[in-house]
């Protein structure tokens, strides 16, 4: 785990579930999960935000394009919506979601609209 800036840490895939279990046991609230795909870096950045009272902390996970990311929905139920959203809009592969909606959350016609189009 490495601090990038105030309240933000970069974590590895292997550490993720352990960190999240610690947060859950300390009664932190899952604030949100944000996925992004910066054009310059060409990889996914998944940001997990947690809040307890007025404290706020964010963990960032970097994933390559075809990489699988573990699901935290078995720890935090409410992550189901965020993780399905990430898969539907960005095409990020999330392993073992508690309720996998198979791209039927928003039921859009376009495939992974948020992923930048490959230039050819």
């Amino acid at each position: 785990m490495e601090q990038i800036k105030d309240n933000m840490y970069q974590i590895d895939k292997a550490e993720l579930l352990q960190v999240i279990m610690e947060k859950k046991n300390a009664l932190w609230r899952l604030c949100q999960i944000c996925c992004s795909f910066p054009k310059a870096e060409q990889h996914y950045e998944v940001t997990y935000s947690f809040s307890s009272g007025y404290d706020f902390v964010q963990y960032r996970l970097i994933a390559e394009k075809d990489e699988w990311v573990p699901s935290i929905s078995r720890v935090y139920n409410s992550a189901v919506f965020y993780e399905n959203e990430m898969h539907e809009l960005w095409g990020l592969n999330v392993e073992n979601i508690k309720v996998d909606l198979h791209d039927k959350l928003y039921r859009i016609d376009v495939e992974t609209p948020f992923l930048p189009k490959e230039e050819n």
């Binding site: 604030c31 949100q32 409410s78």
Partner: protein, 359 residues
């Protein structure tokens, strides 16, 4: 064991101004489980960052939702101000606070009306909305718009409110306060209203945290968190307490929101007393580069904004987590074990804003 059946609820439903769909698994009249499905209003406006530059995105952000439109625009501007290191003039901070609190007032009055409609008290609905119109008139006088008024810009606000106008608003609010107190007394004391609210839709404090509930939904479960206490805009200078309730039911949610109505009036009063004179915006030059996460307290709860810029005029990422999105898992929890007839009411108690949720 009774008969099990699955009943669809929505998307077009008399009690809902906006479409949400729930599949309710019933055993006779009792709800065993509720499966929400959303996406009827999904527009994908976060992806507009590819087509609109960061200044135009202010107006897109305001149109995430028509009810808290001001606060959406404000939070987006705050995120960019953090990235670009812009110091907002104090007067602009105070003006933003006043408009935010007026938004909260109109949103809570709107919600009270919808709640009254939800339990079939039509005249109470009309009264709440009649009161709300006065707030909208104030918006119209000060900004020119009723629900969407686009007065935010990166670096401040576009319009000033003269001090005379502010004092006049306070006078009007003082008069309104009595009327609001008369109307809200019915919500809090009336026997029939109480019979629909007390003990319905229990969400314990621990469940609220586990399910990630925010805003009045969480505060009604006894958790003392209000993002305004972080002191963004002018909230740091003002004196107010977080309103909570320990009853954890629908009545508690109603109580918290009613408390916040009077709190908002009080905050506006304090702002008008303390507002300094001066500039209302700072000139902003250059392109944003960097990222920022902002949390603000909207009428429905904490909203999370994440903006990531890459040095060009098009942003890399614009992410909004709206309060209703966070409250949907809590809604599913409160629906379990509820009576079928209470479902519309319970859906309303989270103060759903579906346009926000689906963006």
């Amino acid at each position: 064991m009774g008969n099990r059946s699955v009943v669809p609820f929505g998307p077009q439903h008399p009690v809902l101004p906006e479409p949400i769909h729930l599949d309710l698994v019933l055993e006779d009249e009792k709800v065993l489980a509720a499966v929400p499905s959303i996406g009827f209003i999904h527009r994908g406006l976060e992806s507009l960052t590819d087509k609109k530059d960061f200044n135009e995105m202010v107006y897109v952000a305001e149109r995430i939702c028509g009810i808290c439109s001001f606060q959406h625009g404000m939070a987006y501007c705050m995120a960019l101000e953090e990235i670009m290191n812009v110091e907002v003039p104090r007067r602009a901070d105070y003006l933003r606070t006043i408009w935010s609190e007026m938004s909260r007032l109109h949103s809570h009055l709107l919600w009270l009306g919808l709640l009254a409609d939800g339990f079939g008290f039509e005249s109470l609905f009309m009264h709440s909305w009649r009161l709300r119109e006065k707030i909208l008139d104030m918006f119209e006088i000060s900004t020119g718009g009723r629900v969407i008024f686009s007065v935010n810009k990166i670096g401040g606000v576009l319009k000033d409110m003269p001090n005379d106008m502010l004092r006049d608003f306070v006078r009007q609010l003082n008069d309104m306060e009595k009327e609001i107190r008369d109307t809200t007394k019915i919500f809090l004391d009336d026997y029939t209203v109480k019979s629909r609210l007390v003990g319905v839709g229990i969400l314990t404090g621990e469940d609220a945290i586990r399910r990630g509930a925010v805003g009045p939904m969480m505060r009604a479960s006894g958790i003392n968190v209000d993002m305004r206490k972080n002191g963004y805009c002018a909230y740091g200078d003002l004196d107010f307490d977080v309103i909570t309730s320990n009853n954890c039911d629908s009545y508690a949610r109603c109580e918290v929101r009613i408390g916040e109505i009077f709190q908002s009036i009080d905050i506006i009063r304090q702002c008008v007393e303390k507002i300094p004179d001066g500039e209302i915006d700072t000139k902003v030059v250059g392109m944003p580069n960097g990222e920022a996460s902002i949390r603000v307290e909207q009428p429905r709860g904490e909203a999370y904004y994440h903006v990531r810029a890459n040095g060009t005029k098009f942003l890399d990422r614009f992410r909004v987590r709206t309060p209703t999105f966070a409250n949907v898992p809590a809604l599913v929890q409160t629906l379990q074990g509820a009576q079928y007839g209470d479902v519309p009411l319970l859906v309303l108690t989270i103060d759903p804003c579906i346009s926000c949720t689906e963006r």
